[in-house]
């Protein structure tokens, strides 16, 4: 909302209030000033002058040499190229030293050999309009030598206010002035509505029929003998200061009244209102109207329309019709001042995509109670302007035709002073002070019961419903800066916190500590991620199911189910910028539709069937709620290391993915984790079937690690020779696993250990996990403290289909030094058992 300070001054005395202090005051009462801009951005050295003579420039056809009188005694010689420069014209002269709004500094100059002592300015050069065809032609009655700012009344400053949706009443100068007046303790000017009524015209004959409850009130004022001429300068200036374009006197006045009284009004050419009767009704489906802007709008059932006996004249509160607009020969008008249902106006304007000054105000709430006053204000201004322009006085009806006997139930709200005091922590509040500031805002004091004060809410304050609203008014007027600064004193008993929240923070630090960089991406998919991920069909658990109705772009339609695609996209982005070997991770949510719960029986996706702990127990009962799971996923791009001075290039393998996952699980003491081959039932179609594992614990699948499937890699735009390694884990499942950790051993081993090595030939199909399970099964009560693989070998001397595995066993006791015999005995037991179990051969 743009507010002219000069206009504001017509409503409230601002003597002694600087622009800065006015801006501060407005911001302090909740009408935030976003910008301050002077109407004229030039100084007093641009003055009124008159061209006394004009001669052709001897050296240039297009230029004239003008002698200009600026009342300084001697005439100024100014070279001017404007076609309309002529003898006797009153003009705006930028004298030497002046700076124009575009930064041009006026200096004495020689133009084609002719000295020039200033510049005659166009409207555009002064920043007043876009008019640049010639120099500005001023009223001949202006005093020569007077600064233009003063002569044209440009000494104004325009403030851009951020008016919040609750303050509909401040979308007009009067409303803003009222708030300022209350804050400054000054009186708001009365609205002048007087005019000389003509006996020849009456509004009585205007018919008004309201056929919808969406129209609260409709009033009409008939005026004849009007002329759609150009408005007086001051009116044009007021309107353009607020960002509207002057059109003609009638249209300009409707805009002026709206900008002043915050009540959009509409003037109809009386010839276009059949039988001079209005019907306000709701649209039927299939109807349409050509609006003022020349566009044909198709209407929907329920849109509120202003019609006459046979035609649609306009869309109520949104935009008038093309047909009934004011024309150059319009002489008789009917002025509409109405009140419409805000929701109805909003729905229509939203659906049609028309946002106008009128709809903006009506959807926030326009005070229907002031309709007649607004009509009379228009009449007053029309009479005044006609007189100023030397036009014959228009014939204005004395009466304003009202749709109904409009009554408004007064709204009463009480406020307890003691409550306001303690709520705002403002002990200095008094009954009289509160009464005074609310009175200045238009709240009428009605009654008092000790400290309980009853007020009638003014009709324009649709935002005030209950006590807290009055408390806000009191606080706003007193100033939030008067509220002391205190910390609450409360019970130390905290609300319990979901431990998952802190766990996730720890995971973030652990994964970053392992060498991955955290990224954050938008969780939106275009939909073709499903194909790239090679998901079979919409019964796949990872098929996206949550669709955005109004996406911001075509590639942001679905909510993701896995973090993999965005990680791959960002990894590619890094590659394209020349960064290889990036390692990103993200912590975010996957979104799953409960009704679309995975059809696959694999336990892998069991977690995607239930809500995460972020959801409170009460909301969990809502079965239509999409399921959100907290995920952590990472990607290791190729190579793990480029070639550096102390080591060769190292490709990333699924084992590097495992390293990250295993470290993470180890940090949180999660044991008994199995790494299993991928199976079709896991549905991990986009993961390399051989270079991968599903991470399981008991009957639950926590996540997976693996290289990207070469087919998926191709789809995402990766080189098949450089498959990135990925992992993804369900954070809540990991957290649950971390809470049931086994007992921590407190034994310290102070006696020397003994080690024994075993190398054996086993079938390729035997996994390390098979061997370790076998060892653990057998060595329960012995002194085997640790064992590890030191070698896995295939090749020379090893038959095809076999591999050699080298294991080191460490025996140690907490209570004594083990004898060779004891160690040998245990080692033999383990060895025999392994050789037996796997049909292995010792090497």
């Amino acid at each position: 909302m743009q507010i002219s300070i000069a206009w504001l001054k017509e409503w409230v005395n601002l003597d002694g209030v600087s622009v800065e202090s006015l801006s501060q005051t407005l911001t302090d009462i909740g009408l935030e000033v976003e910008a301050v801009k002077p109407l004229a951005s030039f100084g007093d050295d641009v003055v009124v002058g008159r061209i006394n003579s004009c001669e052709k420039h001897p050296g240039a056809d297009q230029l004239q040499v003008c002698k200009v009188d600026v009342a300084t005694g001697a005439e100024l010689t100014i070279v001017c190229g404007a076609p309309n420069a002529r003898q006797g014209l009153t003009v705006a002269v930028a004298t030497i030293g002046a700076t124009l709004p575009d930064g041009l500094k006026i200096k004495q100059a020689k133009i084609r050999g002719q000295e020039s002592y200033g510049m005659l300015c166009s409207s555009k050069e002064l920043g007043l309009s876009d008019e640049n065809a010639g120099i500005l032609e001023l009223d001949a009655s202006l005093t020569l030598g007077q600064p233009i700012r003063k002569a044209m009344a440009l000494d104004d400053v325009v403030l851009t206010l951020n008016v919040t949706p609750n303050r509909a009443d401040c979308l007009g100068h009067k409303g803003v002035a009222r708030d300022v007046s209350a804050k400054l303790g000054r009186v708001l000017q009365k609205t002048i509505v007087s005019y000389t009524a003509a006996s020849s015209v009456s509004s009585k004959a205007v018919g008004i029929k309201i056929d919808s409850s969406k129209c609260q009130r409709f009033t009409a004022l008939k005026i004849s003998g009007v002329k759609a001429v150009a408005s007086p300068d001051w009116l044009k200036r007021r309107i353009s200061a607020c960002g509207l374009r002057p059109v003609n006197l009638i249209v300009d006045l409707t805009n002026f009244v709206m900008l002043e009284m915050n009540h959009p009004v509409h003037a109809y050419d009386a010839r276009d209102v059949k039988q001079e009767s209005f019907v306000i009704r709701e649209a039927k489906s299939g109807e349409s109207i050509k609006t003022l802007d020349g566009q044909v709008r198709s209407l929907s059932e329920g849109d509120l329309l202003i019609c006459d006996a046979s035609n649609i004249l306009g869309i109520a509160g949104v935009m008038g019709g093309f047909q009934s607009e004011i024309k150059p020969d319009t002489s008789e008008i009917i002025l509409e001042v109405a009140g419409f249902d805000p929701i109805s106006v909003r729905k229509t304007s939203k659906r049609l995509g028309i946002h106008t000054e009128a709809s903006h105000r009506f959807e926030r709430g326009v005070d229907a109670a002031d309709a007649e006053k607004v009509a009379r204000r228009f009449a007053h201004l029309l009479e005044r302007c006609s007189k100023e322009l030397g036009l014959p006085s228009p014939s204005i009806a004395a009466d304003v035709k009202d749709s109904t006997q409009f009554t408004r139930q007064p709204k009463m709200v009480a406020v307890r002073l003691g409550y306001a005091k303690s709520f705002l922590c403002m002990n200095h509040l008094t009954v009289d002070g509160v009464k005074k500031s609310l009175d200045l805002l238009g709240f009428r004091f009605v009654d008092q019961n000790q400290e309980r004060l009853l007020f009638e809410v003014p009709s324009w304050r649709m935002d005030c419903e209950r006590e807290c609203d009055l408390v806000e008014e009191i606080g706003r007027m007193a100033g939030f800066d008067k509220v002391p600064v205190l910390l609450p004193t409360m019970s130390l008993q905290p609300t319990p916190e979901d431990p998952l929240i802190d766990f996730i923070e720890q995971v973030r630090w652990v994964v970053a500590g392992i060498g991955l960089r955290e990224t954050i991406s938008f969780p939106f998919w275009s939909g073709n991620e499903s194909q790239k991920l090679l998901l079979s069909n919409d019964s796949h658990p990872l098929w996206p199911s949550l669709k955005i109705i109004n996406p911001i772009a075509d590639d942001a339609v679905w909510m993701r189910t896995t973090l993999v695609p965005s990680l791959l996209k960002q990894t590619l982005g890094n590659r394209n910028q020349g960064t290889k070997g990036s390692r990103l991770f993200e912590i975010g949510r996957g979104f799953f539709r409960p009704l679309n719960a995975p059809k696959t029986q694999s336990p892998c996706w069991i977690s995607y069937k239930s809500q995460g702990s972020h959801l409170s127990p009460k909301a969990k009962g809502d079965m239509e709620r999409p399921i959100e799971r907290q995920l952590v996923a990472g990607v290791i791009d190729q190579p793990l290391f480029g070639k550096v001075w102390d080591r060769p290039e190292t490709p990333a393998t699924a084992f590097h993915g495992k390293e990250i996952v295993a470290s993470l699980l180890e940090v949180f003491g999660i044991q008994n984790v199995q790494y299993m081959h991928l199976e079709a039932s896991h549905g991990l179609t986009f993961v390399h079937p051989k270079q991968s594992a599903v991470i399981a614990r008991g009957d639950r699948i926590l996540g997976w690690i693996g290289q990207l499937h070469p087919r998926a890699a191709m789809a995402f735009g990766f080189d098949v020779a450089e498959l990135p390694v990925l992992f993804e884990l369900d954070l809540e499942l990991i957290h649950q696993a971390s809470t049931d950790r086994s007992k921590i051993s407190s034994v310290s081993y102070k006696f020397p250990p003994s080690t024994r090595d075993l190398a054996m030939l086993v079938d390729e199909s035997v996994s390390y996990q098979d061997i370790s399970t076998q060892i653990l099964k057998q060595s329960g009560s012995g002194h085997l403290k640790d064992f590890r693989v030191f070698d896995v070998y295939r090749g020379a001397n090893i038959p095809a289909g076999k591999k050699s595995m080298g294991l080191t066993f460490l025996f140690q006791s907490a209570v004594k030094t083990l004898t060779d015999q004891e160690v040998e005995g245990e080692f033999k037991g383990i060895t025999d058992n392994l050789l037996n179990a796997f049909g292995a051969e010792r090497r």
Partner: protein
Amino acid sequence: MNSLESQIKGINESFHVQCTEAQASQNPDAVEKLRVDFLGRKGHVTGLAEALKTLSKEEKPQAGKLINALRQEIEGKLGDLQGQSKGWEIERSLNIPFADLTLPTSNIANKGSIHPVSLMRQVLIRVFKQLGFTVYDGPEVDFDFFNFSALNIPDHHPSRDMQDTFYCEGAKGLLLRTQTSNIQIHAMLNEKPPLRIIAPGRVYRSDSDMTHTPMFHQIEGFVVDEGISFAHMKGTIDAFLKAIFGGSLQSRLRPSFFPFVEPGAEFDVQCGVCLGKGCRTCKNTGWIEIGGCGMIHPNVFEAVGYDSSVYSGFAFGFGIDRIAMSRYALPDLRQLFEGDWEFLGHFPQSAN
């Protein structure tokens, strides 16, 4: 016997020659070799024991004495030499070329990092935890009731224009939350006062330019108890702003409007670039907008079944990304969500 004597003599001479050589070489290895050669299991002195066996009973004592004398002499000398040798060993390990530690290391672990938004969130949450707040989580996809209507934002109200909402297909009123304020409703429906809750999270709005992204991060905080006043809100926000921006910058509250609070306000902190004088960063206002706050509207309490005549409270919310942007002087918000490996590695990882 004579041959033994000359043998001993020969060993002795040979030892002294080699001993002098070792001394000259200052090589610890030569000292060890000397020990092995003369006193080791197969050493010269040890070998004399074999020769002793061939002697007669009468000759043995004399010969034994001679051998012992030799052993003692060699042991003594060797002991001195070994003592010196320790020093030579230290010298040797120091007497090497400089290692070029200007060469880069290539451990991957030190390349990891936390996202600036996460770092910022941790800093912010730590402040509130010190003030006794509990972190609370809630859904990102929610129903209209939790995101709007329970927060006193009725349908078809212009205040909905303050947030461009993404709506979802499926159940009626399903949307991506536009604000973390939905957690107010979830928390109040599940917990009893007194409440001190802070709720960070991702939020979504249909908006995209230099300073807006369709997804960004907010923190919502609220306090509910008996007797909570506007002054308590000022105090809490003041404490938080001081902790984040330092005590030297002023802050202010100015009246504003959010449907779920009354009175509502926005809180600003003095511009750190110009210290309130006005500059480009603060659009000449001298202030930087941080967030919104207000006293919880009784309509909100009533929507969750709290008695608004007993309880009062305040709520506040602000964007994490914006604070991170100003903290790290980032020009473009979108950069935070592009996953640029180099960019992500630039942020100091201490959460201070």
